[in-house]
């Protein structure tokens, strides 16, 4: 269960690539875990590490000086493409990421992120370029992410507004998960089930 999402300020990790797929975010060989923990070192594994576990040179952006502790990723279009593995947001959160800024996300990745206290912010291409320029000119620039006001505060005092559906926002701010909400729908569910018998019985003929 996620913690309530609070306002925070952080410098930015820029990753320019578009269509970054979940096999890059967490390679499949790290999916043999049976818990959600310990995936920080699996994050972008093959972009960061050599076979022997040493850091690649030149270093991937995450491992460059001053990047540790940053909580905002600025990434290219269609981030999180590919598989449904929730290990991707687990690994991002384990490394310390709390918000991602892109022009779009793959559907399943976006949904998985929202369920793990990881805010996928969508901005238009012009705003995205403005933020890229900001980081390029001042790698130490800090942004303040305010979900309740749906705004990103820039160092010059200006604000970028972003959209998020009211339900996801409500859930993230409260730190409530969707299962908790669904469990409150028991009466409606019982009524629906009474009127809709199961279409299959997978237990029929089972050993």
């Amino acid at each position: 269960m996620a913690e309530p999402f609070t306002m925070f300020r952080s410098r930015i990790v820029p990753i320019a690539a578009e269509n970054v797929d979940t096999d890059q975010i967490v390679p499949a060989r790290y999916l043999k875990v049976t818990t959600k923990e310990g995936l920080a070192d699996a994050l972008f594994r093959d972009w960061r590490f050599e076979e022997d576990g040493s850091l690649k040179e030149p270093r991937f952006v995450l491992d460059q000086p001053g990047m540790a502790g940053r909580q905002i990723l600025l990434v290219g279009d269609n981030f999180g493409a590919g598989s449904s593995r929730e290990h991707a947001p687990w690994a991002l959160a384990a490394w310390g990421v709390r918000a991602i800024i892109s022009t779009s996300y793959a559907d399943i990745f976006r949904g998985n992120s929202l369920k793990n206290g990881l805010l996928p912010i969508v901005v238009d291409p012009a705003t995205h370029e403005r933020l890229r320029d900001l980081v390029a000119n001042d790698p130490e620039a800090e942004l303040t992410v305010d979900l309740s006001e749906q705004g990103i505060l820039l160092p010059d005092g200006s604000t970028i507004d972003f959209d998020i559906d009211p339900f996801s926002k409500h859930m993230m701010l409260a730190g409530t998960d969707e299962l908790g909400y669904l469990l409150t729908k028991e009466p409606e569910l019982e009524a629906w089930e009474a009127a809709h018998p199961p279409r299959i019985d997978s237990l029929a003929g089972a050993r």
Partner: protein, 479 residues
């Protein structure tokens, strides 16, 4: 007169349990497929909350992703994979979920066994913690991949919170030429719209070229909807669907069958139903497709040349292409035909069904894999394996020098030890050519079973249409 509806709207409307203002709909799930990789944390969550599995009879589990494809009487050597499989077995036993596990005659890739067992039926909502759940859309079901948090929700409530999806009509008219198959249709679509083209949408594949496809070919197309960015893709059910389904283990029987078919006939999109987006593909001019880059949208007709970064107007596209060609070690403007191949992989939830193996075998019969090429043939399920052995396909594969393996996801996701070595090139019938997808540093060309088998024989990327007797070969698939 009610407004014309798409099949997606009809299935959606049939499954909304309730919806609060401003909230997503609570959507009922008819069938939940479970596997070892994306479920352990969900079961842990149930235990922490003291919850049961609400509908074990609408849940089915198998082990497919992390299991070896070596003989079943050998142990799983990878301790983590073994623990994961053991945990699935324990979870299924504890929560009363039927498991088609290792050693079961109905074990296999989750998206192969669902249809095989007759669990996948028209009009259903089907989910699984796997993005290729879109496969089941071939039956006119609304089927999509979910994350592990959602797996937990479905286990606990047999529902999910979902937003009404947008619809994307993919019309494929005309007739495929010999040597061109379903895989080429879907790779062509993705090369046109890109890997994010279908984001937020459900594809509905329509048109006479789609209607002419067998169920297994339809599954190949729906399978890769996610590679076009769409969580789901479906095809309205018709007589081909009903014929495939009739008599399968979990299909309705007797009077219930007739009633079910009558209902299913009302599912196709109404005339005049509106789609949010639309694209048309002319099947008559399609060639075999092959990918050259590091996402499934980087595909070209097999006789074309690798595109050049300098021709890309968009800087981001140019960078992406430069990066991809560097990873693939390919030159801009080079022909893809004749590119050397180290490994050929025939299998996966995309192309690991019996008709796919028949196509590959039709090419490999009385031929031999080129020197230095490793050909792995991995059946999509234990049943596919038995069928292939009964039909003598396995003997054809072995005589051609191929490895004939046990069922599983294998080198499609390469988490079970079946993988490329760094720098190796593979022609693969699977669905993803991402960096490292088939093994760290491995390079993947996605293609059809015919193209894969033809390439295995010659040791280079090969156009299956250049094989003698291609007209007869292409007719082999069936089903």
């Amino acid at each position: 007169m009610t407004e014309p509806r798409t099949i997606v709207s009809k299935i959606w409307d049939d499954h909304v349990v309730t919806q609060d203002p401003g909230a997503p709909a609570v959507l009922a799930v008819d069938l939940h497929l479970v596997h070892e990789v994306t479920s352990p944390q969900a079961f842990t969550g149930l235990r922490q909350r003291g919850l049961r599995v609400r509908r074990p009879g609408q849940t089915v589990a198998t082990a497919d992703h992390s299991i070896p494809t070596t003989p079943r009487d050998l142990p799983i050597l990878d301790e983590m994979a073994a623990a994961q499989v053991r945990q699935l077995e324990d979870n299924c036993a504890e929560f009363g979920i039927p498991l088609h596990g290792i050693g079961s005659p109905s074990q296999g890739i989750v998206h192969v066994i669902g249809p095989q067992l007759g669990l996948t039926q028209p009009g259903m909502t089907i989910v699984c913690g796997d993005s290729h759940t879109s496969t089941h859309g071939a039956f006119g079901a609304l089927a999509f991949g979910i994350g592990t948090s959602e797996v937990e929700m479905v286990l606990a409530t047999q529902t999910l919170l979902q937003r009404d999806p947008k619809t994307y009509e993919v019309r494929v008219d005309g007739r495929l030429a010999p040597g061109v198959s379903a895989k080429d249709i879907i790779l062509n679509l993705i090369s046109r719209i890109g890997v994010g083209g279908g984001t937020g949408h459900v594809f509905e594949y329509r048109g006479d070229a789609i209607r002419a496809l067998t169920m297994e070919q339809r599954m190949t197309i729906c399978n890769m909807s996610i590679e076009g960015g769409a969580r789901a893709g479906l095809i309205a059910p018709d007589d081909t669907t009903f014929e495939y389904l009739h008599g399968r283990r979990h299909a309705p029987q007797g009077a219930a069958w007739d009633a079910a078919v009558a209902g299913w006939r009302s599912l196709p999109s109404d005339d005049g139903a509106a789609f949010d987006k639309s694209i048309t593909i002319d099947a008559n001019v399609l060639e075999p497709m092959v990918t050259y880059g590091t996402n499934p949208g980087m595909g070209i007709p097999i006789t074309s040349r690798v595109p050049s970064p300098v021709d890309q107007a968009d800087p981001a596209q140019r960078r992406a292409l430069e990066h991809a060609l560097e990873y693939m070690d390919l030159q801009p403007g080079q022909a893809i035909l004749g590119q050397k191949v180290d490994v050929v992989f025939v299998g996966s939830c995309t192309n690991g069904r019996i008709s796919d193996l028949r196509l590959a075998a039709s090419v490999l019969k009385d031929r031999h894999v080129a020197a230095g090429v490793r050909l792995m043939v991995v059946p999509g399920s234990d049943e596919v394996k038995r069928e292939a052995e009964q039909e003598g396909l396995s003997e054809i594969f072995k005589a051609a020098g191929a490895e004939w393996r046990e069922a599983g996801c294998s080198m499609c996701i390469a988490m079970n030890g079946d993988q490329l070595q760094p720098g190796q090139y593979a022609v693969s019938t699977s669905n993803r050519n991402f960096e490292g997808r088939q093994g760290k540093g491995g390079r993947t060309f996605l293609a059809s079973p015919l193209t894969a088998a033809a390439s295995a024989i010659s040791g280079v990327v090969t156009d299956p249409r250049t094989l003698p007797g291609i007209e007869a070969l292409a007719a082999v698939g069936g089903r």
